[in-house]
Amino acid sequence: QQQVKQSPQSLIVQKGGISIINCAYENTAFDYFPWYQQFPGKGPALLIAIRPDVSEKKEGRFTISFNKSAKQFSLHIMDSQPGDSATYFCAAGEMDSSYKLIFGSGTRLLVRP
């Protein structure tokens, strides 16, 4: 049973375009929703995160949109750059109880110059 479903599996965007990656979760006990960025040969690194008490969080060109009733959240990358080409993972965690952190299957983003 996949607790966090991520789509699309891969994404190609032109430089300057908007990249959108979506995730859906099932467990209503999740209370923390981060996005991680991973470059080849490296471990994932935190990009941006949100708690369910807000519907949107923006940090620079990166925005998380969160829909609690639909149990969905998404990452928007504005003005996408070739340096953004990486694999992106959404995750969901129970940070106020078990501290279990579950990841989605990942999206490989390619930003063409």
Partner: protein
Amino acid sequence: NAGVTQTPKFRILKIGQSMTLQCTQDMNHNYMYWYRQDPGMGLKLIYYSVGAGITDKGEVPNGYNVSRSTTEDFPLRLELAAPSQTSVYFCATLTGVNTEAFFGQGTRLTVV
């Protein structure tokens, strides 16, 4: 301050052999995790620990064992290696305060 250190970086095992993947952190974090990353399958949680002496199963614990005798160390044990355990293994920690998880560089394991 090394952060999260995993050893070895690469390893080839024969079917049925055993090995321990080491993970050490110097950030004094309470929470530690082991994930495996298969191509196109994302990160799957194997085991995690909320503190020394406490461990719990994740999504895919079968074939693995862990221990947490100290805050710093969280080794992952494979007793009877199988080809299905070929993967990249990541260790991660977080404080439980700001909830950012810090990952090691990974161990690439091949079972032949």
